[in-house]
């Protein structure tokens, strides 16, 4: 794929009759990150949640006719997992063959929708482990190997993404954060792992995602469609003790615009769990309806507040309850999640104090993430914060992380 892209790009370059000055830009950063547990965790022998050095290299080469080749990779020395690693974050080619069409081919990070850390119609892979241990925000998203067509025929715009090679979201797997083992019905012991079965890379398993959007004055409206697989392993196969990613289709819509001196947004989606439509299989997540309401406002200079309310309604709940084997953790029909983000900028916006909070009244769990970050100079920055999790039950999203509270520190030099 890499070589194909590079050679296609070089070919495109050499075909151009009179190449103008095509700029190559080289950037990146060197980052040191450390993180440690705040409490003893019997499931986790190590005290460190983070201990890594990262060198990020970003190359961007402009080509003829608004084309561009983009490369971004990290070299990582990881003290927690005691290994070196290279992570190809992005490698894509941008083409604009006709005025109304943009094409992006290769490994790319894809984001859409109106949520802040809560996603309904954005079914592209995420890495919540990175977020929960305190890596910087850019590591929340994982690249997809995909082709994206963006069409701009006039009054509306259309994005169509094809992902031939499935990439799952990163979830806690025991290396840094505890996880609930659904086969054993408890938090996994040290060294315990779960095997996950990814869908085979066949043409019929190609994931498709679509967004149709336009503005209505100051308001933005969008319709979404997705056909692919759950990004988290929402299915259990007791035959071989593996988790898998069941088939999923999603249909949704969103709206965003000014409201009461702030910005309000609404997003909803119908999750069609295609391998368990009637809800009779308790080992596969049921279909659901999901809603997200958001509101953001700057209350005073450089202080903003964002609040979100998320609601997930399990469909065929009666069937689910009847089919659930005795002793299994029972989910509720409605899952409510509240979100709050407070941000205060200080000292000519070089210091940022932020507080992020999640709380689910139905799951009785949540997390709090206070953080201070400071731009010491234009090229040197430091950030420090904590992630504190709480929950009454081991099988809920934040409850399983109850003993994973951590403190982190990041120092980054940009070039």
């Amino acid at each position: 794929m890499k070589y194909f892209l590079a050679s296609a790009f070089l070919a495109a370059l050499s075909l151009h009759p009179c190449p103008p000055a095509l700029a190559l830009s080289v950037h990146g950063f060197l980052e040191g990150v450390a993180g440690a547990r705040l409490t003893d965790n019997p499931a986790q022998p190590k005290d460190a949640t983070l201990g890594e050095g990262r060198l990020q290299v970003e190359l961007s080469q402009e080509g003829p006719a608004d084309s561009r080749l983009f490369f971004k990779a990290d070299l990582i020395g990881d003290g927690v997992e005691e290994r070196g690693d290279a992570d190809l974050r992005e490698l894509y080619l941008d083409l604009s063959p006709v005025q109304i069409l943009d094409i992006r081919v290769g490994r790319q990070i894809l984001t859409w929708g109106t949520g802040d850390l809560i996603f309904i119609n954005d079914l592209f892979p995420k890495d919540f482990v990175s977020f929960f241990v305190g890596r910087s925000l850019e590591y929340l998203k994982v690249g997809s190997d995909a082709v994206k067509f963006s069409l701009y025929p006039g009054p509306f715009s259309l994005d169509l993404v094809a992902v031939p090679h499935f990439t799952p979201s990163e979830i806690p797997k025991g290396e840094r954060l505890s996880f609930f083992n659904p086969f054993a019905n408890r938090i996994a012991a040290p060294g315990e792992s779960l095997s996950m079965r990814k869908p085979a890379a066949t043409p019929e398993n190609t994931e498709l995602a679509l967004r149709l959007y336009r503005t209505f004055g100051s308001y933005e409206g969008a319709l979404y469609g997705f056909r692919g697989f759950f990004k988290e392993p929402a299915g259990m196969d007791p035959a071989d003790g593996t988790l898998f990613y069941p088939k999923l289709s999603v249909y949704g819509a969103s709206m965003r615009g000014p409201f009461l001196q702030g910005v309000a947004s609404f997003e909803s989606g119908y999750y069609d769990s295609r391998e368990d439509r009637p809800g009779t299989n308790p080992l596969i997540e049921n279909a659901s309806l999901r809603y997200l309401l958001g509101y953001e406002r700057e209350l005073w200079t450089d202080f903003s507040v964002r609040a979100q309310y998320y609601l997930e309604q399990m469909l065929e709940y009666g069937v689910y309850k009847v089919s659930l084997p005795p002793g299994s953790p029972e989910k509720k029909e409605y899952r409510h999640l509240l979100f709050l983000r407070l941000t205060q900028l200080l000292r000519y916006q070089t210091v940022e104090l932020s507080l992020i909070g999640f709380y689910s009244p139905s799951d009785e769990d949540g997390m709090v993430n206070p953080q201070i970050s400071c731009k010491i100079t234009d090229w040197l920055s430091v950030a420090s914060g904590a992630n504190v999790f709480f929950g009454k039950r081991d099988f809920t999203q934040f409850g399983q992380l109850d003993k994973d509270d951590n403190l982190y520190l990041r120092l980054r030099a940009n070039y």
């Binding site: 950037h27 950063f29 608004d66 941008d94 943009d102 790319q108 990070i109 894809l110 984001t111 859409w112 109106t114 925000l137 850019e138 929340l140 998203k141 963006s150 701009y152 715009s157 959007y213 503005t215 100051s218 933005e220 965003r256 000014p258 001196q261 702030g262 910005v263 947004s265 953001e296 406002r297 700057e298 005073w300 200079t301 450089d302 903003s304 000519y348 916006q349 070089t350 731009k375 100079t377 234009d378 090229w379 920055s381 940009n414 070039y415």
Partner: protein
């Protein structure tokens, strides 16, 4: 009888037209009213040409000798002269904001729509922007200093006419009509009598003490439009100041309205970004 009334009406109407026409001409030739001076200065500063693009370099300087640099490309299109505008900004420096893009749809009568694109996670974020006085990219310039404050928001009084650095100027005092909405008590502007360039502006806080001072340090005529290519905003209370240089200024590039959209945020086209 009806005929007679019609004649009187006609005469009255003609007289009205004549008088109002005369007064219009008078205000166009030598603007007497402070409102008219501020209006024309506003148009010169923020609406020259149909559109404009410039590479802006801002040096943020502190009393202690600290310096930070912001470099960005700013493109602007007038939807209506004196009215709605669209702005597109690409950040080039510093490294942590490089390639971020920023889109503003400005409406003089209500809050702007603003979007920020964060390239590291490919996120288009809508910015809630109630506070027009908030700092632009951490500089001493506010959003309003960059995209303009509608003159109709203030009551203006012509204080005097004088010479400022060898130029004939009007000195105008402006007080916000809405006492609660802004963090300045009043401002005083020195405006060129010839081309309506704003040479100096002093902002006073609610208690009446001087808070910020704007100066135009270099003005050039570009494509016939007087353009402030170098300007300074100094916060006299903190000693922090910002010097902004507008390089590579071009007017009337013929930007299409569709360029000021989400497509450009995610993938800035050459004509806006280079």
């Amino acid at each position: 009888m009806a005929k007679k009334r019609a004649v009187w009406l006609m005469t009255g109407f003609s007289l009205f037209l004549l008088v109002s026409g005369l007064s219009l001409r008078a205000s166009a030739g030598t603007p007497g009213g402070a409102e008219e001076i501020m209006r024309r200065s506003y148009l010169v500063q923020f609406y020259s040409g149909k559109d404009m693009r410039s590479k802006v370099t801002m040096r943020l300087l502190s009393k202690e000798g600290g310096e930070r640099v912001r470099v960005l490309i700013m493109a602007r299109r007038n939807v209506k002269t004196g009215g709605d505008q669209k702005y597109f900004i690409v950040f080039l420096q510093p490294a942590d904001v490089r390639d971020m893009t920023f889109l503003v749809w400005k409406y003089p009568q209500r809050d702007s729509d603003r979007w920020l694109y964060i390239p590291a996670i490919k996120l288009v974020k809508r910015i809630a922007a109630d506070d027009k006085r908030s700092s632009f990219v951490g500089s001493d310039f506010s959003y309003e200093d960059v995209s303009g404050r509608t003159p109709e928001e203030d009551n203006h009084t012509l204080l005097r006419e004088e010479k400022y650095e060898g130029k004939e100027v009007f000195v105008v005092k402006s007080v916000p009509k809405d006492e609660k909405s802004d963090d300045f008590g009043y401002k005083v502007s020195w405006i060129d009598k010839g081309n309506f360039v704003l040479w100096k502006e002093e902002y006073y806080d609610k208690r009446g003490s001087l808070s910020r001072v704007f100066t135009a340090d270099e003005v050039k005529s570009i494509q016939g439009f007087p353009t402030t290519v170098k300007r300074t905003m100094k916060n006299v209370q903190t000693g922090h100041w910002t010097e902004a240089t507008f390089g590579e200024v071009k007017y009337n590039l013929g930007f299409a309205d569709s360029l000021f959209s989400e497509r450009s945020l995610r993938n800035p086209p050459g004509e806006l970004a280079r």
